[in-house]
């Protein structure tokens, strides 16, 4: 049986102060407002996002994207990148720029606003789970409500895999988070709508890895 890997309990970082994502997974039954995390959010004066018409020229007028989801981004409240996956061509320099811009745009949005921001002619759908923002960039005419569901699908699968996932899991086992993502999206499109199936596939591959160690 594959052992679901957890960061070792002898690890110095105590997990107790990291809120568990699952405990704060908003139930979609109560609507789409991101649930306010337990920690007090400092009421900083929000800097308004710049209007997209003033976006710099180099990323504008790019050729049409290759995928429904152009990229996936997970950033922490402090703006640290926890996971990035790019389904459209972006150079390293462009990626850094994109991350910086989006962090500025999204991290400063208040909790009651809608989960979509317009950015450079694209839409970025984001949702906050505890200390992490899950963001997915789509084209202007894609179905953003569906992408919200895809994000939630991803989070629930992560939760099932890691067992009450929290940010630390995604830091120390980032490569496993990527393996999970690769079973959910390929080329920016959804691959599997059954959480059970994804879990089964990951478990089978994990056991192949365990078997090879012996």
């Amino acid at each position: 049986h594959p052992t679901r890997s957890r960061p070792p309990s002898t690890d110095a970082d105590p997990r107790r102060w990291h809120s568990r994502l699952s405990a704060i997974l908003p139930s979609l039954a109560t609507g789409c407002h991101p649930v306010r995390p337990r920690r007090q959010i400092r009421a900083a004066t929000p800097t308004r996002p710049r209007s997209s018409s003033r976006a710099s020229a180099d990323l504008r007028g790019r050729r049409p994207s290759l995928a429904m989801i152009n990229f996936v981004l997970l950033i922490s409240r402090q703006g640290k990148v926890r996971l990035t996956k790019w389904y459209s061509p972006y150079t390293q320099k462009e990626r850094t720029k994109v991350i910086r811009e989006l962090s500025g745009l999204i991290l400063t949005r208040g909790p009651k606003l809608c989960n979509f921001v317009e950015w450079r002619g694209y839409k970025v759908v984001y949702r906050r789970y505890a200390s992490l923002y899950f963001c997915m960039c789509i084209d202007a005419d894609d179905n953003e409500l569906e992408v919200l569901e895809i994000i939630h699908h991803f989070v629930e699968i992560l939760d099932r895999y890691f067992g009450s996932v929290c940010e630390l899991d995604l830091i120390f086992n980032f490569h496993k988070a990527y393996y999970v993502l690769d079973e959910i999206l390929i080329s920016g499109e959804l691959q599997e709508s059954s959480k059970k199936n994804v879990a089964r596939l990951i478990a089978a591959q994990d056991s192949l890895v365990e078997a090879a160690k012996e």
């Binding site: 970082d13 407002h33 790019w86 409500l145 569906e146 690769d182 959804l190 709508s193 591959q205």
Partner: protein, 533 residues
């Protein structure tokens, strides 16, 4: 430790971790260095950027040494470290060849991390990628389905046009395989291939159409998406799919819509909303401009539009797609009414997301049925004042589209009233829109002047130069209104002189028509005399 030596550094500090590693090395000169999790801990424990850079530099040096020694044992771990370092933003080019070596290894664990490294550290523009083509070809023919899966996933995420051409035959073959998990990956990989090389679309259309008979949901959602892509890439594929797949799609949608509770696919009481949405999207592509196809899907669209629960996001996502499809095809008027009604409901939903989406859809609905959208004008105006900036912007754009001769005056009044209380960030957009509207409908010169004066007073600083130039031109060409203009501007100036454009226009007017001001010349009925000294 001797009593006079310094106390050991705290558990988690960089010094401690480095000390531990140094101890490791000194005891075992063949030690491979830090474990992945220790490197991550060291990086997290860094208190300054310089400390972090030092840790990363040390690790990179160790990895480089291992690479040049062609170290086998820790290649796997070093790749993981490289990926983490890459995520932090540091350059990792020296590790790219390691991906290739891992992929070429025979074991699953090596291939797994090798392929992951490939998709993270490289992008399609790099020539190194071409070197993987051979390994990919072998892996696509592997007996282990998981290895085939790894190859398909990597290809689907990162291939270039040449690789797509090279490996398309393998992927085509894999569409016929028995394992559904491989099939679904092959279908998605085919999407990328077709996007990169649209000429190949016709190769896939036969398989895609026949795969619509599958039962496995993963395969279905991938194949339906592939069909949508094929239609976009090739006219021939579009015609083929119109002929061969519409019945099948209607059946799929009907089955999943009528299905009873299926725990594996259930989201908020709906079975597989993702499948619903993808089929709806394909129906839109097929039905666009095709009356025959549109007729076939009419009933099922009506069913989905009326039956789907709209109290959860999943249901609303389906309804959204359904409305988009109805608007996009040659729908009956009954169906269109249904669609606009759904939008109306969305518009009054408490949920910000739903309102935002409704505004978006209403903009598209303008092309289809302007009158229906006009009916929601009041609610849309309310959205212009919403707390959410995304909603405000959408609503404003929509209002701009809704303006016509009959409603321009009340609409403008609402907008100007709001201008007074709106946020500074929004003032600019709002001002521009108001000026644009007013100029478009400026046949009634008196009204035009009134609006412009108000705007100049409230947000003159945001008024563009060519706008107030045009205002001046109009005043100078309308002698009967010059007196009125100069008096109104004078009053405005007295009330508030902070807006620069207002001051400019006012001063110009007073300079040109000062006489009229002082002597109350050519007064209009609506004016009262003022004394100016």
């Amino acid at each position: 430790r001797r009593r006079d030596s310094p106390p050991p550094p705290p558990q988690d500090s960089v010094e401690r971790i480095v000390e531990d590693a140094a101890m490791d090395l000194s005891l075992n000169p063949f030690s491979s260095g830090t474990r992945l999790r220790d490197m991550i801990r060291a990086i997290r424990a860094s208190k300054t950027a310089a400390e972090e850079r030092a840790v990363v530099r040390r690790e990179c040096a160790a990895i480089r040494a291992a690479i040049s020694d062609n170290d086998q044992d820790y290649r796997h771990r070093n790749m993981a470290k490289l990926m983490f370092i890459h995520m932090l933003g540091y350059p990792t080019h020296f590790g790219q060849m390691e991906c290739l070596k891992l992929i070429a290894a025979s074991g699953f664990p090596e291939k797994r991390i090798g392929y992951l490294g490939l998709t993270l550290l490289l992008d399609e523009r790099q020539e190194v990628l071409m070197l993987v083509t051979n390994s990919l070809k072998q892996d696509l023919n592997h007996s282990n389905q998981f290895i085939v899966g790894l190859a398909l996933c990597a290809l689907g995420n990162i291939c270039s046009a040449e690789m797509a051409r090279d490996l398309a035959p393998e992927v085509e073959r894999l569409l016929q395989t028995r394992d559904p998990n491989t099939k679904k990956k092959a279908a998605l990989c085919s999407i990328r291939i077709v996007r990169k090389v649209p000429d190949l679309a016709e190769n896939f259309m036969g398989s895609a159409a026949s795969l619509l008979k599958e039962k496995h949901h993963g395969v279905l959602i991938s194949v339906v998406q592939l069909c949508t892509e094929l239609c976009k890439a090739s006219r021939e594929a579009l015609e083929y799919l119109r002929k061969h797949s519409v019945e099948g799609l209607v059946r799929i949608l009907r089955d999943v819509s009528n299905s009873s509770y299926a725990p594996e696919y259930d989201i908020a009481g709906i079975t597989d909303p993702f499948l619903h949405i993808r089929v709806l999207r394909l129906m839109r592509t097929l039905g666009q401009g095709d009356a025959d196809c549109s007729e076939h899907v009419n009933d099922i669209l009506a069913q989905v539009a009326t039956k789907t629960e709209s109290n959860k996001n999943a249901g609303n996502a389906i309804l959204y797609e359904c409305v988009e499809t109805i608007m996009g095809i040659e729908a009956t008027s009954g169906l269109r009414v249904l669609a606009i009604n759904i939008l109306g409901r969305f518009l009054s939903n408490r949920d910000n997301n739903i309102r935002y989406v409704a505004l978006n859809m209403l903009m598209k609905a303008m092309a289809v049925d302007t009158l229906a959208v006009q009916r929601h004008r009041v609610t849309i105006l309310e959205c212009v004042k919403d707390a959410d900036v995304s909603i405000r912007k959408r609503a404003l754009e929509l209002v701009y589209l809704l303006v016509n001769d009959t409603n321009v005056k009340p609409l403008t009044k609402e907008l100007v009233d709001y201008l007074e209380v709106s946020d500074d960030d929004f003032k600019e957009d709002l001002t521009a829109k108001i000026c644009s509207i007013v100029e478009k409908f400026s046949q009634d010169k008196l009204w035009y002047l009134d609006q412009m004066f108000k705007v100049l007073t409230l947000t003159g600083n945001f008024v563009k130069d060519d706008v107030w130039h045009a205002l001046i031109v109009l005043i100078s060409n309308a002698p009967e209104l010059q007196g009125y203009s100069v008096r109104s501007l004078y009053k405005a100036l007295q009330a508030s002189g902070t807006q620069e454009s207002l001051v400019r226009v006012a001063v110009w007017c007073i300079g040109e028509y000062g006489e009229m001001l002082v002597n109350n010349i050519s007064m209009l009925d609506v004016e009262e005399p003022i004394t100016v000294s």
